[in-house]
């Protein structure tokens, strides 16, 4: 662990510099969220000037009939419900692909892999065309249904189930008279939980960060997630200048909880991907 001194200094300097780079926009955001709209332009961006965070926040939350909290709840709903359902579907499918022998198994798996490689935003327009035809655009379903498919989740779950669930255990449960559904819900889900946490987190962030899909699907701003809402505020700032500050403050409110979650949950992001990549 002992490297020569000059090398050590370089190492620390590089890592610190990188940390500065990754934190700069977040640091700016924290400062900017406390400023008035005029100070945003008139004062130095990297230090406080007449901080008034609570005043700003109360304006953001009440603007336009409390639309911002509504967007936040929409985002939570899309990402939360979508990720839970996606995880369950992936777990069941991954388990089936790993632990049962049946005709067409490899074909199904190849199909899933092709889904992993398909660009998700190239899919947004086709989804819009189809959903428009059957009247699902501008509904919560239009965003939720595509969000519960996670081919990558199925892939991870299959690989994890193969190593984490022993055939003997399943056989023992069957001899004890447990049905397949019961085995899955009581035994398999528990054994697969590390992989499921990973799939859930990935899907949650994926849906939370998604922009193209809600953009094409939704026209009623009361159904918007935060991402879409903030961009509309930013674009309307030409006409209503105070919206610049609302965009900044709204971004601040949405980024902070996720940043904290990232730091706390950081260790859970490791497990799943290793299973995927190591066994390549």
């Amino acid at each position: 662990m002992r490297t020569p001194r000059p090398g050590r200094i370089l190492l620390v300097a590089f890592l610190a510099l990188a940390a500065g780079y990754f934190l700069l926009p977040v640091y700016w955001l924290i400062i900017a969220a406390t400023k008035s709209n005029e100070d945003l332009y008139g004062s130095f961006g990297l230090w406080f000037d007449n901080p008034r965070l609570w005043h700003n926040l109360s304006q953001i939350f009440t603007y336009n009939g409390h639309i911002y909290p509504r967007w936040a709840l929409n985002s939570l709903f899309y990402a939360g419900a979508g990720a839970v359902l996606a995880t369950l579907l992936s777990a069941a499918a991954g388990f089936a692909l790993a632990k049962y022998r049946f005709r067409g198994r490899e074909a199904v798996f190849k199909c899933v892999l092709a889904g992993v490689l398909l660009p998700s935003t190239a899919l947004a327009l086709p989804l819009y065309l189809l959903f428009n035809k059957i009247g699902l655009t501008n509904t919560y379903w239009g965003v939720l249904i595509p969000s519960i498919v996670s081919p990558f989740g199925v892939y991870l779950c299959r690989i994890y189930a193969e190593s984490a669930i022993s055939d003997n255990l399943l056989e023992a449960a069957r001899v004890d008279g447990a049905g397949e559904e019961r085995i899955f819900f009581t035994l398999v889900l528990r054994l697969m939980s590390p992989a499921l946490v990973t799939v859930f987190l990935f899907q949650f962030v994926h849906i939370w960060n998604n922009y193209f899909l809600p953009l094409v699907m939704l026209s009623d701003d009361r159904k918007y997630p935060i991402t879409l809402g903030l961009v509309t505020w930013k674009e309307a700032a030409d006409r209503a200048p105070e919206l610049t500050q609302y965009t900044v403050g709204g971004a601040f409110v949405s980024v902070i909880p996720l940043a904290v979650a990232m730091l706390v949950l950081q260790r859970y992001w490791r497990t799943g991907l290793t299973e995927g990549s190591v066994k390549e």
């Binding site: 049962y100 199904v108 398909l118 660009p119 327009l125 086709p126 397949e180 949405s254 190591v278």
Partner: protein
């Protein structure tokens, strides 16, 4: 489903056959949504891409009707110089941005291996943090850092006598590249770190006894062993680059250099929603998906062949 209620004895005799049929019960829900929200839209988009609106009567003022167009839309898309330029632009973008990002991710992952655990954890989390920030919000933030008058970066550089033009015609592509690197370098680093952690410690022990320094260990042992992770991150990055959309769309208002055809995805989007030509948009979406899949499959098979040659 039908056999579940039968008496114990025959069920026990056919034990090996019975549970396997249940596979479809578990696969069913996923496959149903997969077909509905992935396969069906693609088929529908392919179908739409083969149609066009035709107006009858003199001067094309008659009633519009949708007719079969064959490959006309594809021909039209491929004749649009701006659309092809968009493809060229994302390819150039990817050729620069993906290696820079992966090199940064790899360097950070290898360097973090040299740091005490407590600090490594904190730094790792710091580098990973941008991944949790939505692309459009990251773009809004960097947009503020690019705009003269509000950006502290411009203020500081201005004091040093430099007048950067992040949103200018020549720089905007690389300003977008910076945003994408910022968002995903930490995520890719984490994948590489995960692979590094799975390398057995004895290997390092052996290398140390053989007199290998940290540089040699990194170059000769760690680098070859994280190759699967690099492959994975590279494929995902290629797919990500091809679908570049939100970042240029949000920066469009700040940078006039970003046109409606700046990337293939933008081009398809504006065809569908601004030009009201969903059939052309469908053709462009299909083209984009095909190119992205060909590139990532091509890259995978290239890596696969190389590995076979190595053996």
């Amino acid at each position: 489903m039908t056999t579940s209620g039968t008496s114990r004895k025959p069920a026990a005799r056919r034990r090996s056959a019975r549970p396997d049929r249940k596979a479809w019960t578990f696969l069913g829900p996923f496959l149903a949504v997969y077909v509905f929200a992935m396969i069906l839209p693609i088929c529908y988009a392919i179908y739409q891409s083969l149609l066009k609106v035709e107006r009858s009567g003199p001067l094309g003022l008659g009633k519009p009707s949708v007719t079969f167009a064959g490959l006309d839309n594809y021909a039209l898309a491929l004749e649009q110089t701006t659309f092809l330029e968009g493809f060229g632009r994302v390819l150039l973008f990817g050729a620069v941005q993906v290696p820079v990002m992966l090199l940064l991710a790899l360097t950070l992952a290898l360097l973090l291996d040299q740091v005490k655990d407590r600090w490594a954890g904190l730094l790792r989390a710091t580098y990973f943090l941008p991944y949790g920030i939505p692309g459009v919000i990251a773009t809004l933030l960097w947009g503020f850092l690019y705009v003269p008058g509000i950006s502290p970066v411009n203020d500081v550089l201005g004091k040093l006598g430099v007048q950067p033009d992040f949103l200018g015609y020549d720089n905007i592509l690389w300003s977008i590249a910076n945003i994408v690197v910022w968002e995903f370098a930490g995520y890719n680093m984490l994948i590489i770190v995960a692979q590094l952690k799975s390398i057995p410690q004895e290997l390092y022990e052996a290398a140390r006894i053989d007199g290998a320094g940290p540089w040699q260990t990194a170059w000769r042992i760690k680098l070859p062993l994280v190759r699967p992770a690099l492959t994975l991150t590279c494929v995902f990055s290629i797919i990500g680059t091809m679908q570049l959309f939100a970042e240029p769309l949000v920066l469009k208002r700040l940078a006039p250099a970003v046109t409606n055809d700046y990337t293939p995805n933008l081009s398809a989007y504006f065809d569908a929603f601004a030009n009201a030509n969903v059939y052309l948009a469908a053709a462009k979406s299909v083209l984009l998906a095909v190119v992205a899949m060909v590139l990532s499959f091509g890259f995978l098979s290239l890596i696969g062949r190389k590995r076979k040659d190595d053996r």
